[in-house]
Subunit: 347 residues, 2 copies
Amino acid sequence: MSQFLNYAIQLAKMVEGQTGTNPPVGAVVVKQGRIVGIGAHLQKGDKHAEVQALDMAGEQAQGGSIYVSLEPCTHYGSTPPCINKIISAGIQKVVYAVKDTTLKTHGDDVLQQSGIQVEFRHQPEAESLYRDFFITKRQSVPKVTVKVSCSLDGKQATDEAQSKWITNKAVKKDVFHLRHDHDAVLTGRGTLKEDNPQYTTRIEDGKHPIRVILSKSGQIDFNLDIFQNQSEPIWVYTENSKLKSDIENVEINCLSNCSIENILKDLHEKGIGRLLVEAGPTVTSEFLQSNYTNELILYYAPKIIGGSGNYQFFQTENIFDLSEVPHFEIVNSQMIEQNIKLTLRKK
Amino acid sequence: MSQFLNYAIQLAKMVEGQTGTNPPVGAVVVKQGRIVGIGAHLQKGDKHAEVQALDMAGEQAQGGSIYVSLEPCTHYGSTPPCINKIISAGIQKVVYAVKDTTLKTHGDDVLQQSGIQVEFRHQPEAESLYRDFFITKRQSVPKVTVKVSCSLDGKQATDEAQSKWITNKAVKKDVFHLRHDHDAVLTGRGTLKEDNPQYTTRIEDGKHPIRVILSKSGQIDFNLDIFQNQSEPIWVYTENSKLKSDIENVEINCLSNCSIENILKDLHEKGIGRLLVEAGPTVTSEFLQSNYTNELILYYAPKIIGGSGNYQFFQTENIFDLSEVPHFEIVNSQMIEQNIKLTLRKK
């Protein structure tokens, strides 16, 4: 693969998780064998990667090539179409790694009519950056990652709800990075009551996710730790129209039906592009049975907890036939200091 | 390590080989857990990485952190000192991965007096990016990489000078990347006459190196292929004061003594920061015996050529004691489609 296309993909990866419902994109402008501009899409509403890189290149872009991780856009969104900027900058060649299947019109023809050589050079590595963006944009829902920390026998806690700490400190740090990479973390009322968590990101220059609490009944104790930390908004989803809160950063969203789908569509409308689910068996199982789980991350501690089946992370009312239980593809397996991290995608 | 410091180092690596006698540097500005600016030093005389990143960040740099692969500069060179820009941008924290041992004054105190938190966080991975820059800047010579393609028995050609092609096509492509990453390629008159090479870079959007020819006698045939390609300058070093050429891109440099040291110092003065030596046994052996070879790259084809010792890549007049022969450290070993690439550093 071209090293410059590879650099564009590297730049996209640097901003993964900070572009909300927009895709992470990187761009590199090259003139006479030398990089003259680099760019990345830093935030929804901000300049696109191509524009950042072309601005850095200035007049040097004239006659140069631009390498982009994703097909340049052709539409007026929060910013004007990138293909206009590419044409006016005098670029001679455009190479991109992934076709944007969500574009209504494609720009290759327009660029070629302006005498620009355009090449779509498929990169499987970049494909995985955008796979979920395409799916979720069409459905108008965030990408959903369900995270579970458990014992080798699949328990999130003992029968008596003791769960601190099953996995090790290194896993905790890894989870901070997961939170940093997501716009919001969702949990249920049960976990909130039992674990009293804060869902913050304790890494250097990390960003805290927006915290989303699902409580159909609306029986929430506003004295819990999570409500003391007012750095980021807390959005509560409930079916209880009487639920109120005076806390400044708490927003109550009352839906007539708090289904996963309704909550996800509302979150996407509010700008959430990536949602991390960190919850107990009830909410976790609801997500894992839905069609809206893109990724499952399992952290296993090398322990077996036993007991009588409470706090198994996957619990269902129905008994499925073995051929119908949810199947996954293992994307990655990693040792984290004597704990195992499995990254999986639902098949 | 911090992911942001890691990104700064990635950015530095992207521009390695295009900054001449300046070091490759990358920078990332972070505000509230979000990247708001990225930058790299694109060319000597152009903005430093910190300035590129701070310019992209604009007002968002206020109160943010900057991560830089190399200690920010304190001196007026081709551009004003970066620490001034960091202070005026309102940055609160500076983290850098490598101390710049060539700076006359260090900026940590000045930054701290402005209320900025400064942290030198040593990164061995970044260290290797700058090791040769520090050495060669102090000596005012380019970093020298000697490249040799040979058989398993160390021959660059048969006794009858047949050398096309010992190594495979994949190696040839790898050599194009080496040329792209160096400012200039140096060879001797003998290789020029026997191989008639062009020393160009045939990769997409690659840059051709400046070509340097060493010929003490000045007996050069200006009809060779290399003189037909006039895209990049050709600099000839000779002790023959009568040597002249009318070819536009050919510059004759007559030195009273064409020693390796004299040539390297002159090249550094002309802006060459990285020199690749691709030559036959005479010039190669002269460089390998000198103190100016930073890196040796050996491509081995799985063949044995034999003969009577002509074209062994290392030939010396003296016979060294075994304890005194040049020793190397193996930095990397790599298979390139049935050829082996060894990267070594002189001990």
